[in-house]
Subunit: 211 residues, 8 copies
C-alpha cells in the first residue's frame, strides 16, 4: 500500500481503514519510512511487524482474533525471499490460519529441506507455499517429495538473464511434478490469500468433524 | 503422450501401462490417429473418450472406480478451450473427484456466466478451474464474484501479439482479485491434478464427518 | 510536456504557447513541481487542474469554450488509472466534447460496472474510453455488454511478468469481443484525441439535424 | 473460421449458420480448399468472394442488403496486405457501410498516397482503415495529412527482427500523430467491425438529417 | 564518455587525451556537470558545444582543421532526436566532412520534409543520416523519395510497448525501401563515423578529379 | 519472390517482369522448384544461377550489362551464409558493381580471414559486406582491422537462445569498432543495394577522374 | 549434420569425411532417414548408433580407439533428454574419455539421484554433464551435493511460457550453487567437447603420474 | 554482498564472517562506501582491494594462504570488464589458484590478443576465463586459436538493443568454436569458482606427479 506515498499519507489511510475494518496490514514500506510510521501508529492497536518485509499489521486492541483451523506451511529458498514469505504469512494469519514457516532451505543445500518437510507432514499442513527467487527450483523438488498441494511464489531475486523473477516464474510454471500452481512475481499477498482459502475449506469440515 | 508417436507405438505403451496401473489416459492424440487408436484399444477395458481433446481413457473392466468425495467446477471461456478442460476433468475424475463443467461462458457474453456460477455454489464445489485463451479475463471476473479458490489455466488460443497463450497467462498472473493461482499454458493435466488434491483434502474431512 | 524539465522551463513554454494558442494543457508534472507551477501560472487564465494526474489546463480568460456536441464516456478499472483517464478527458473537453466519467468499476467488482454503463446508454454516448491496468480485462467485458465503439487505454499499473502495462495491452489487443481498438500504454492524450474525433464526427450531423 | 477444419466440416457449419443468420462470411480458407468449398456452397445464396484473402461471403438469395449510410476508406501499404483489407471490407459491407479501397500506396512510394487521400476527402469518409505490414509507417503519414479518425491494422508481413507483424504493431502504437488507434495483427475482422460502428454512428444522424 | 564519472575525472581524461590527440569530443554529459566542465576546459583549445546533446568538442588552438570534402545530410524526426544528431554531426566534422542538418521534419508533418530533401539534393550530399525515435518511420519515407544511401539512427525516444528505441529500430530494419542500413539505438557516434567514411571515400576521388 | 508460389506462378511473373525490365532476379526458390523453374525460363535470356541460394537471374539476350565501376568485397562467416551473400552479390552486379567474394572465413578460424582482407585492400574495395550467422562476431573483427565502411548482414543460422539470427543481429549492432551499419536478418538484397549505392557514388567520381 | 539434407546427400558427405578423418559422427537424423542411412553406411566401418538421438558414429575398421584417461559423468533429468546426452557422450568418447551415464534422475524423483551421484564419486569423475529440459532444476541440486565442476545442458523439452529450453537455460544460468557453467540449448556436441577438454587435462597428469 | 546495505551493516557482517571463516571477500561495493568500509576493516587482517571492482578481500593475519597449484588465465575485452574479471580473480586466488590476467585485448584491436594468448600457452594455463561485454565476440576468437577449455563471462556493458549483457550472453552461447561454456551476466564469482575447480582438479594430479 505504501509505494510512493508519504508517511503522513499512509498513516492517514491506516487510521481510516482501522476504523472501518478493525485491522489493517501495510506492506512494502521503505526502510526510511518504517520507524517513522511505526511510531505514529503504535497506539492504534496491537502491532505485528517485520522490518525486513517492510510490513506492519495493526489489530484493534479489543478485537479477538478469529481462528479458522487452517494450517499452512511456508518455505523459502533463501533469506532474501523472507519479506515475500512474511507478507503471505501475515495475510494467512489474518484470514485465521496457523502458519508454520521454514526459511532458507533452498536446493543449493537440499539437506536442510528434509527436516522442514518432516515437520510439515507431522503437523498435517493443508497446503505448502514455496517462495523462491534465482532459479526457483525448490517447488519442483518439494512436490516430488510430498503429496500436498503447492502454491509457488517466484521472487524478484536474481540477476543477468531471467532477472526480476522471470527465470523463477518460468521454472515454476514448467515444473514437471504435478500438484503445483503459481502466482505472479513477489505476490506474497495473493499467495497468502489463496493458501488460506484452500486451507480454510479443509478446516471447515475438520472443525465440524471434531465437534 | 501421443505427440509424434505412431499409433502402433502408442497402443504398445498403452498396453504396458494398463497392465501395470489398471488404467491409462492418453491425451493430445492427432485427429488422424484418433479412430485408429480407439479401434485398437476398445477391448482393453472401459473407454471414456473426447475426440475434440484427442483424449482416450481406458479403465480395466474389473476395476471399480474409487470415489474421493471432492467436487470441482470447471469453466471455459470459449469452445476452443474445451480440449484442455476435458484433460483436467479426466485427471480429476481419475483422482476420484466429481466434476461439474460449464463451457463457453466467457466475458464476451458475461450473462452466460451467472447461472454457471450459481450451479457451482449450489453444489458447494471445493475449487474452480477456469480455462481460457485469448485475453484470459474470465478468472478475474469469476474471482470477483465468488469466494472459492480458483486455478486458472491459460490456453494457447489467440493470435498476433500475445499469441500462444502468452496474453492469457499474463492476464491471469496480473489478476487483481485475490484467490487465484495459475498453471502453465495448456496444462490441463497439471490443473486437474492440483484441483483434485485441493478438493480431496477437504473431502477427506467431509467424509469422516458424515460417517 | 513536463518530463525532466525545470518548473521555470515549463512556465516559459506555457507562456509562449498560451500567447499563440489561447489555451495550453500540461501533463505528467511531478508532484514536487505541481504547486510551484500552479502558483506561477495562476494569472495566465482560467485554470482546470488534477493533481493526481499532474495535469494543469490554462485557458485565456477571454476565450469562450467551443462546444462540439460530441459525447464521450470514460471508465477506469481502478483508482490508479484515473490520471490517464483525466488526460484523455481534458483533451476531449478541449476538442469540444462533453465527457461523462465513471472511475474504479473494474472486473474485480463487476457489479459497479452496470450502473455506469446504464448511465452511458441513457446519455447516448458516441464512444467509450476504457482505461485499465493490471489484467486489462475491462474492455472485453464492456464490449460484450454494449454496442458502442470502444477505445481501450492500457495503463502501466501492474507488477511481475507483464508489468509496465504489457499484460493489459496484450489482453486488450486479444479481446474476443468485436468493436474495440487500442492505443499505446498510458497514452491518455492520444485516446482523448481519437475519441473526440469519432464523437465530433457524429455530433456534426446531429447538430445540423437538430437545427 | 476455416483454420484446420476439413472442407466438409466448413460447409456443414456454413449451412447451419446461413439457416440461422441469413448470411455467413468464411475467411482464411487455404488455397487448396477454396475452389472445393466454393463449388459446394454455390447454391446456398449470392456469393461474394476474394481468393487472395481466402474469403467467401454467402447471402441468402431473398435477403435484401441493409444499407447503413456509413462510408469507410481502406488503404493498404503493399499488395500482401490486401487479404486482411478484404476481410475488413467484407465485414464493413455486411454491417451496411459503403467502402472505398485504395491498395498498395505505402510509404516506399509516397506519391501514390496523395490521390487516394484526395478521393477519401472528396467522398467525406467517416473513418480510414490503414492496413500495413513491414515497418507499418503508413498510418503515421496518413494521420499527419488528414483530420479523420484512423484505425491501424498491422499485418504479419515482415521478416527478421520484428517479423510476424510485431514491428508494424509497435510502430503503429508509437505513432506520434494523434488520431489513431490499433487492432491486433491481421485482425481485419475486428478492424472492419469497429470502423463500421464508428461510421454507422455518424450515418445514423446524417440519415435523419437528410430526411 | 561522461556516464557516471565525476566532472573532475572527466576533465583529467580530457587533458590527457587532448595532449595526445590534439582534439577531444565529450558526449552525454549530465546537464548538472555541463557548465562545470565547460568552465574547467575553456582554456584547453577552441570549443564547440551543444548543451542539449551534453556535447563539448575541444580542438587545440594551433590545430588546423583538415577538410576531407565529404558532404553529409542529417535529418531528425523530432526535436528530441537532436542530441543524437549533434553527436553524429560532431564526429563527421571531426573526420573532415561538411554537414548540412535539417531537424524536426518527421512524418507527422511530412510537408516539412520536402524542402529539406531538396536542399540535400542541390548540395549533392554523399549520404543521409536519418535520426528518429517513436515510430521511426522517417527513413522509409526518405529512401522512397531519394536515390542516396541512408544510415538510420533509432533514438530512445518513445513510450509504452516498443519504448527505449525498440520500435524505431525494428521499423528501420523492416524498411521496405532499399538503400538503408541501421546502427544501434542512440549510436550517434557510430552513425557519424560510418557516414564520414562513406562520404570521404567519394570525396577522395572528387578531390583528385577537381585538381 | 518465390515464397509460397507455384512454379507456374513464378514463371508467369518472371515473363511479365522480363518484358518490362529486360532483367529479373528470383531468390529464395525451394530446392524442389529450382530445376523445374530453371528449365521453364532457360530460353528467356542469359541465365546466372546459384542453386544453394535458390537464386536465378535472367538477362535479356540483347541487353548489354552496364558497368558502374563500383567495387565491393563480400565475406561470409560460414558456408551456410553463402545463399544470403549470393543474393547481395547478384543485386550488386545487377547495379553495375564488381564483386569480390571470400566465403567461410569466420572467427572460429581467424587465420583464413587475413588473406581475404589483403585481397580486398589490394583491389581497393569501396565497401565490405560481412554476412554471418551464429554469434555474428566477424564484422567486429574485420572493422578492427581495416578502414573501410562495413555493412553487416546477420543470417538466420543459429540455434537455442538467440536463434533465427537474433544473436547475430544484436552482436552486430553492439559492435564496439566504429564504421559498421547493419541490415535486417537474411536481407541480402537490401545489403547488396546499399553497398552498390555507396560504391557507385565513389565510382562516379573515380570514373570521371580517370577520363 | 543431417538437418534438411537427403539421405543420399548425407551418405556422400559421410563417405568423404571418413576417408579424410577415419571416423565420423552424424547427429539429429530424422527417424524416417535413420534406417535408410544405417543400411547405406554399414560397410564403412564399426558402427555405434542411438536411434533415439538420431545418431550414428562410424569408425574405420582398422582404427584403434585412442583412450585419454578422462572420466565424465552424464545425468539427464528425464528420458526425453537422452538424445542430447547421447550426443555429448559420443563426442566425449570420440575425444578419448570414459563416460558413465545415469538417465532419468530428475528433481521430480530426487531419490533416484543419490545412487547416481554415489557412483560418480566412487569412479572419481573429473566433470559432470547435467542434461535437463522443463524447469532445468537438476544442476542446482547436483552442484549443491557434490564438489565437482558441472556443465549444464538445457534441452528444448518444455511447453507454454519458457518453452524451447528457454526456462531451463535461464534456471541454469541463475543457479545459486557455485561451480556450474552452461552451453546453449540442445548443444550436446559442445557440452561433450568442453567436458572432454576439462577431463583430458586432468587425465594428462594422472597418466604421467601413474607411469 | 554490499548491494543496498549500509556501510555499518556490511562491516558487522564482515566481522562475523571473518571470525568464522578466517577470510572474507566483499564485492560490488558502491564507490561512496568503498573508502568508508576500507577504513573500518583495515585492522581485521591482510587487505587485498580493487576500487574499480568495488572489491575488498580480508585475510586473517595469521592465516597462511593455501596454494592449490591450479593456473588460470583471465582476459577482458575492454577496460569496463575489469571489475568482473577482478571478482573472478579474487575467488580463484582464494581457492588456491595462480591467476594470470591480460585486460583490454578485445576484438576491436585483435593484435593485442596474440601476445596475451602466447603468455597463457607458455604458462600452460588449465583454463581461460574470457570476460567481455558489448558484442561479446572475444571467446569465439580465442577458442578458435587455442585448445584450452574456456569459460565465458558476459558483462552488462552495452547499449540499445541487446544491452545489459543480453547480446554478449547470446553471442557466447551461439559460439561456433567448440570448447566454451558460459556463466550468467556479470557473474565473476561463479566464473572464478568453476575455473578454480577445473584447474585444481588438474593440479591435484600434477602435484602428486611432481612429488
Amino acid at each position: 500500500m505504501a509505494r510512493m506515498k508519504t508517511s503522513k499519507d499512509i498513516v492517514r489511510i491506516v487510521k481510516k481503514t482501522i476504523d472501518l475494518n478493525n485491522s489493517v496490514i501495510i506492506t512494502k514500506i521503505n526502510l526510511e519510512q518504517f520507524d517513522k510510521i511505526l511510531k505514529l501508529v503504535r497506539n492504534y492497536g496491537i502491532i505485528y511487524k517485520c522490518k525486513m518485509a517492510g510490513l506492519i499489521k495493526i489489530t484493534k486492541k479489543n478485537l479477538e482474533q478469529k481462528y479458522s483451523g487452517g494450517i499452512i506451511g511456508i518455505l523459502t529458498g533463501g533469506t532474501s525471499d523472507i519479506p515475500i514469505a512474511e507478507e503471505a504469512k501475515t495475510i494467512a494469519i489474518e484470514m485465521g490460519c496457523e502458519v508454520i514457516s521454514e526459511y532458507d532451505v533452498g536446493v543449493a543445500g537440499v539437506h536442510r529441506l528434509f527436516p522442514a518437510l518432516k515437520k510439515f507432514i507431522k503437523k498435517d499442513v493443508d497446503v505448502i507455499l514455496v517462495v523462491a527467487g534465482m532459479e526457483g527450483a525448490l517447488p519442483s523438488v518439494v512436490s516430488g517429495l510430498v503429496d500436498i498441494p503447492i502454491i509457488s511464489v517466484p521472487t524478484s531475486i536474481g540477476y543477468g538473464i531471467g532477472d526480476k523473477g522471470i527465470a523463477a516464474l518460468m521454472t515454476m510454471l514448467q515444473s514437471c511434478s504435478p500438484g503445483t500452481a503459481v502466482v505472479n512475481i513477489d505476490n506474497g499477498i495473493g499467495a497468502g490469500a489463496i493458501a488460506a482459502m484452500i486451507s480454510n475449506r479443509a478446516a471447515q469440515f475438520r472443525k465440524k468433524q471434531s465437534l
